[in-house]
Symmetry: C2
Subunit: 344 residues, 2 copies
């Protein structure tokens, strides 16, 4: 059967700016010093968790734009979404920007989905610059998806910890980009399909998302003719310890050994033992802040030269779970290259 | 100040197939005979309202694909979203399709947003064919946004009635399209910015969305050098009677007389008096089914030759309203032309 899994050529798209903001727990983690902003109270001066999350989006986009000497009017499109019902962090957080707004819902794959669409628009000259923004907030997510924090619910070993954080990215066409601003080239994009393998445990998102991740990676390797050895790192957004382990097993069973190359933003952002986060971090903000403040700087400096980054999202809702449905997931992949190679 | 409101050239993108499914009330309305499927029970054989909505999405996409003799593997990208928390109608309804999936959240502007992105992808040759799908379900929306139907809440005169319905569209590049399949050319796309003018009444979405509609229309007329007289119709997704009235006033105050040209899918789909829907229909499904089964066929036949269609979305959530925030809205516009002119 003919497959419709095609690589989208995004060559020409370059990440020219990014910014991140995180909460207290993320600042205390191993990558704490990398992030642009942090608030130990997680509130960013706002009265509700939801507005705190929106404020982080506003802040990181303002920073990403101003740090390259640009204005909001230089950005022709905004791709944004988040985990809150009706994606209100994005709608309210980005309200002050008079930038054409494309709302996304990709759950925790939103950073990858937004970067993908912004890169398509930038590479084809549809926009001069396009931005992608996303966020999550631990307390807002807990009370929406599970229980308010005050309830003190016990967490299972496979549970993940929703990151309080927001990341923003500005994507330009290489022709219009200043060399010194370029963090990474977005070479290719490979959007995922929705996959559901019967997992109904909302406290085990890693298991629900790993099959989608495997589907995207295996198809990408096949279509691109690459293998894990071609990349410095193969980085997931927030599969967590459980999800990465399951993914490794699925890949092995398909004859692909990627064990040395699999990394996960959710496992990098916290010290799992010391910070008691069980299987690792999760949420739209997780991959966004790790990309913005850890991986993109490493690509910029040439410390790493080429990676696959893929964001996974679990697309269920509390209602769909209560109605007995299993958890569908999607994984969107980007091939990112250090500009050091191109310009050296 | 330089504006970043630019027209996206989507010439080359053509709508080659569409399909619609509606509930009982929509079938009883003035356009009832146009729709492809209807179920007087609104259930489409499913046990919950949410699953009924998902089933409508599955059904209309299957129909839109098969009616042009295509297979799911011919569709390279799927742009989908809906009103339910975490957009579960789309995630579950489209699960059986192994098509790369871009999740959207644009509230009731989703049909326009999806068509816009599918048209960008098709016109630039990123995909062979791309599909856009969206839906809403009255009972699912009522219990999520307001109260379960059993509560029997009283509705205010400005309230709108969420349409039970789903629409699917297949967008191709004109080069690969069979002439006989073409419903309309998508000439241009003009994405909107998020606008919030202080409306906090969730029973008056028309007032919340009209300023966004006016912003998009006024900027489009300015940037394109067109005026309302250049179009047969200027059709909103679901502004409703109140929203269209406010929009007309804003346009008039800006020196633009569009009064003869303003139409609204939400006002077309029901007989407001006889069906007791107050200000008209609303919901992602509203514009989707009216486009799919009423406007596109008229463009195909040449009965109308060129229209502006714009979808408006109110981007608040029940939580954001409870926290005292006003309602932000967005309006995405498409310029659609009958193929009759091109091929005659």
């Amino acid at each position: 059967m003919e497959k419709n899994r095609k690589i989208i050529d995004t060559s020409g798209a370059v990440i020219v700016s990014c910014a991140s903001a995180v909460g207290g727990k993320e600042f205390e983690g191993p990558l704490g010093a990398c992030f642009d902003f942090h608030d130990p109270t997680d509130s960013f001066g706002q009265k509700t968790f939801e507005r705190s999350e929106a404020e982080m989006q506003r802040l990181v986009l303002a920073t990403a734009i101003s740090r390259i000497g640009a204005k909001a009017s230089d950005i022709d499109a905004l791709f944004a979404g988040d985990l809150l019902n009706q994606c209100v962090s994005s709608a309210y957080g980005l309200l002050e920007y008079d930038i054409p707004y494309f709302g996304l819902y990709g759950a925790c794959s939103t950073a990858a989905e937004g970067l993908m669409l912004a890169s398509v628009f930038a590479s084809r000259g549809i926009t001069r610059m396009a931005a992608a923004v996303t966020s999550s907030h631990n307390a807002a997510a807990e009370r929406q998806y599970r229980n308010p924090l005050e309830y003190g619910g016990q967490r299972t070993p496979t549970a993940q910890w929703t990151v309080t954080g927001a990341g923003a990215f500005v994507v330009s066409n290489a022709e219009n980009a200043e060399r010194d601003n370029v963090f990474a080239e977005v070479i290719e994009a490979f959007p995922g399909i929705v996959v559901e393998k019967g997992i109904t445990d909302a406290a085990n998102m890693g298991a629900a998302m790993a099959p989608a991740a495997a589907d995207t990676l295996l198809n990408y390797f096949e279509v691109s003719g690459t293998s894990p050895s071609d990349f410095d790192m193969i980085v997931s957004g927030d599969l967590g310890k459980e999800g990465v382990s399951i993914l490794g097993e699925i890949l092995s069973a398909s004859g692909v050994d990627a064990s040395e190359k699999l990394f996960d933003c959710g496992m990098m952002i916290y010290d799992a033992e010391a910070q008691d986060v069980h299987a690792g971090g999760s949420g739209c903000g997780c991959s966004a802040v790790v990309l913005a403040s850890h991986l993109f700087p490493k690509l910029k400096s040439g410390e790493i030269s080429e990676i696959l980054f893929y964001g996974t999202g679990a697309m269920m809702s509390p209602s769909s779970l209560k109605q007995g449905l299993a958890i569908p997931a999607v994984a969107h992949l980007l091939r990112l290259r250090s500009p050091a190679a191109k310009y050296k």
